[in-house]
């Protein structure tokens, strides 16, 4: 069992990591699970894991992708459990769980959000990490645990969908 709270240097480094990255990690998780409270719970869990595994972080420059990797794994674990519960619920009740209602269009920002939300969580995660948070393809592959080729293909297909959406939007 590792305990880092007793080591001042590690604590300071963790505090720095927490302050520097909490905003993007929470935003990333909010966009993945579409639920602010749940996203914050998952983000807390991710940072607790990061604190426990701080010794695994060899290169401070890789901290961002390392945190994204932990956050994505926490989200994926939650999604798997949720999917299993959902299957059980539907098997027992024969009804679908709540479908998130689509908000009315309100400008291009809302529409791009809708377009992004329509992508699968995996593709959305990959696009967010690459386009929004400036991670390279190999960093995204490492963080998401997907093969590099899959990451590239997700980004290509995802951006094509967004491109199509924007063209339609501009024509409208």
């Amino acid at each position: 069992m590792r305990e880092h709270s007793a080591v001042p240097a590690a604590s300071v480094r963790f505090d720095d990591l927490l302050r520097a990255h909490q905003g993007v990690i929470r935003a990333f998780l909010r966009r993945l699970c579409k639920d602010a409270a749940l996203a914050d719970d998952l983000a807390q869990e991710a940072f607790l894991i990061a604190h426990q595994r701080l010794a695994d972080l060899r290169d401070p420059k890789a901290a961002k992708s390392w945190l994204f990797q932990i956050a994505y794994n926490v989200y994926a674990g939650h999604a798997r459990k949720h999917a299993r519960r959902r299957e059980l619920f539907e098997a027992n009740h024969g009804a679908e769980l709540d479908a998130t209602p689509q908000p009315p269009p309100a400008g291009v920002a809302r529409d791009i959000a809708t377009a992004m939300d329509n992508l699968s969580p995996e593709v959305r995660a990959v696009i967010l990490m690459n386009l929004s948070y400036g991670m390279s393809h190999s960093e995204v592959a490492k963080a998401s645990g997907l093969p590099l080729g899959t990451v590239k293909s997700h980004i290509k297909r995802g951006t094509e969908k967004l491109r199509t959406f924007l063209k339609v939007y501009e024509q409208a």
Binding site: L18, L48, A109, T159
Partner: protein, 133 residues
């Protein structure tokens, strides 16, 4: 890199900048640190508890081990056993004294197996408690 010199790349990034904008702290970092401190305290408590329990189980076996090595010290061991029993709290119906007395009559492997099971149970309980924090 894909989409280099793509005029739409900047547009995508600009549009997504709102969508993926970092969220202000609003006490989030402090709540994470509080949870970490709580976990550390509970962990220390659990380790202390497990050590104490392991110590009691191991201590209860000392007279028996000594008797195995030095059969002539049986009388002294009996005194030590009674001393150990006098320190243990008496719980109605199923006391630790009764449990240790029962264990000392049984084979050594059973005592060890029970000790390992108890420690595993304690470990599992501590992990569950940590997850709940």
């Amino acid at each position: 890199m894909m989409m280099e010199n793509d005029p739409m790349e900047n547009e995508f990034k600009a549009l997504l900048s709102d969508y993926a904008a970092p969220i202000p702290d609003d006490g989030f970092a402090q709540s994470v640190k509080t949870r970490i401190e709580k976990r550390a305290r509970l962990r220390r408590f659990m380790i202390g508890g497990a050590s104490l329990m392991g110590g009691i189980i191991a201590g209860a076996q000392i007279p028996k081990l000594v008797a195995l090595i030095r059969p002539d010290a049986a009388a002294q061991n009996a005194e030590m056993a009674s001393l150990t029993k006098s320190f243990l709290p008496t719980i109605p119906e199923l006391s630790l004294v009764e449990i240790s007395a029962g264990l000392s009559q049984g084979p050594l492997w059973m005592t060890i197996a029970l000790g390992v099971t108890a420690l595993s149970l304690l470990w599992w309980m501590s992990q569950s408690a940590l997850d709940a924090l």
